[in-house]
């Protein structure tokens, strides 16, 4: 069987199963089962596949993932996340686009806790949109920034998808988490500048309104009480990784213990918080890991059948410059992001892209960061971006066409940031490089 026929069979099989609504993990596993049975013969091949499942999941790089999820769950379930958002809200006075800015800052804070773009978009949309509507905000300034918060979720550490991508691509998780810091904040600043400038020139988009006045003392008290402890945990977790004092796993355990203690301090000892957080964490971990179970076998199939090698040859014959390779790959990722979730995209593309990157001597860390941003960009890109549907799900009264219109400026902003990251790799790489120095 020709390599391209195998490639076509694998990918068409996957996409048909996705379209039929088969859970992503089981779709990958069933394609693996058929491919293994055909290529390596039934019994021995499938027994080998069980060992590959073992190797896929028992990966030390994946260990911080459930721990970061648990950290976010503990903070969320103890109510500290909401209180921090409230403390943040008190600082933003009577400025144009106030609630849009709260959405972006809240999205940045929430990103550090949830790490899931759809969850972050859905949560902030349900919390902030009714208030925005009441204050006469036009949809460009309400839905747009809310969609933008989805992209922040994966670009602000500790990012779940960042950890998974690092584990799949064989990059250091610590490097990955440190590398996304600058791009994440650049994205956040880009949103804030956009909101500020647009609301300054078109004040009707987000009419200013009188806000409750809080004394400086109240603001500082709230910040010291809620915002500081929470942000300290995240900052200390990152500093432990940055200075090499602890591995990402160890620093995530530190984050979990601190979140647990904070929860007790603020809410008192409530076993329900711990119980719910643990349960929620293992469920989210299970959802992701059943997909990752298929990763080793999937890459082995692509390598063994010669698909990876042939694709490298095609890329080498088509593009002489690494720049165009990166651009071509980004276009592929962008198009896939419009239809698929982040995890399947990583599963499909990492085994193909990484050998090609190695052939061109492209920095895998830099590429992984722009890949992460690009996949998120796909999630808010019409017509099928999943975050668009998350907003529609929470706010069913909105029309899809209106949501698409609001997404366009945010997509353009993310494209600008993506272009900056491609043009200036130093934005991504200076922090990890300084970490190693």
């Amino acid at each position: 069987m020709e390599w391209w026929m195998i490639l076509l069979a694998i990918f068409s099989g996957l996409f048909v199963l996705f379209a039929l609504g088969v859970p992503v993990g089981y779709a990958f596993l069933s394609v693996n089962i058929v491919a293994v049975a055909l290529i390596w013969g039934g019994g021995p091949g499938l027994e080998q596949m069980m060992l590959s499942v073992f190797r896929s999941v028992t990966n030390f790089s994946l260990l911080p993932l459930p721990l970061f999820i648990l950290m976010g769950e503990l903070i969320f379930n103890s109510g500290l996340g909401d209180k921090s958002l409230d403390a943040l809200d008190k600082w933003i006075g009577r400025i144009p686009g106030r609630l849009s800015m709260v959405a972006v800052l809240g999205g940045t804070l929430n990103a550090a806790l949830s790490g899931s773009s759809m969850a972050s978009t859905a949560m902030l949309s349900s919390c902030l949109y009714p208030e925005m509507k009441k204050r006469g905000y036009r949809s460009e300034m309400s839905i747009g920034p809310l969609l933008g918060t989805g992209g922040l979720a994966t670009m602000v550490p500790p990012s779940n998808l960042g950890v998974i991508l690092a584990a799949l691509a064989g990059i250091s998780v610590g490097d990955m988490l440190v590398a996304i810091v600058a791009p994440g904040f650049l994205l956040s600043i880009a949103y804030l500048v956009y909101i500020g400038v647009r609301c300054y020139f078109q004040p009707h988009l987000a009419p200013p309104y009188a806000t409750s006045h809080y004394s400086l003392r109240t603001k500082i008290t709230f910040s010291l009480k809620y915002l500081l402890p929470l942000s300290s945990i995240i900052v200390v977790v990152m500093l432990l990784i940055y200075f090499g004092i602890a591995t990402p796993t160890e620093s995530s355990v530190f984050g979990v213990l601190c979140s647990f203690i904070l929860g007790i301090v603020y809410k008192g000892w409530d076993p329900r918080v711990l119980r719910v957080s643990l349960k929620q964490t293992v469920l989210v971990t299970g959802m992701m890991f059943i997909i990752i179970c298929a990763s080793v076998t999937f890459s082995e199939i692509l390598a063994f059948t010669g698909v990876t090698e042939k694709l490298i040859q095609i890329f080498l014959s088509l593009f002489s410059s690494p720049f165009w390779v990166v651009v071509a790959m980004q276009i592929i990722l962008f198009l896939m992001g419009m239809f698929l979730e982040s995890l399947p995209i990583m599963m499909i593309t990492v085994p193909i892209f990484w050998p090609i990157l190695n052939s061109y001597h492209i920095d895998p860390l830099w590429f992984a960061v722009i890949m992460l941003l690009n996949i998120e960009l796909g999630m808010i890109t019409p017509p099928f971006g999943l975050c668009l549907f998350a907003v529609k799900g929470v706010l069913p009264e909105l029309g899809m066409r209106g949501i698409y219109r609001c997404a366009v400026p945010i997509v353009l902003l993310q494209l600008i940031v993506l272009a900056l990251l491609i043009a200036f790799p130093a934005i991504t790489l200076w922090l990890p490089m300084s970490m190693h120095q």
Partner: protein, 170 residues
Amino acid sequence: MKLKRIFDVISEALVWMSSVLLALIVLSVALEVFLRSVLNRPQAWVLEFSEYGLLFITFLVASFLVRTEKNISVDIVTELLEERTRAWLSVVQHGIICVVAFVFVYFGSSATLDLYQRGIYNPTIMQVPMAYVLFIIPVGGFFILIQALIRLRESIRKQREIRENLVPEV
């Protein structure tokens, strides 16, 4: 129905087991950091225990995720379809999960048995017999299979009900 209830309780219990396992991972890593940095006594088993823990968590919660249909899926196409087609697709989805779970049970068991008989160890510091870890795949697979079969039966019944409701009365 009683059997279904029993397996539902088992799937809940497996989730709680994995919650306890996660708590143990957190505590063991914290203990390792303390022993290494304060008493200068690193514990090599912690890393391996935590890695195996990830495999156990995955397979312990898998049946609950099938039962509650919480697995990640791409639903942009299925959401556009009418209920009748969705019910039919649900049969296909659970049928496929059954096949994958059967492979886990059958080939997971034979791989575990083979590793056990040959006495294969994981070449790491703890040198844990591979069979003692790999057995969770057929065990977890068994509970996935049961839940998928229950859901498959329900989907077939629902599909039949929809079809019967659509048949015009004579």
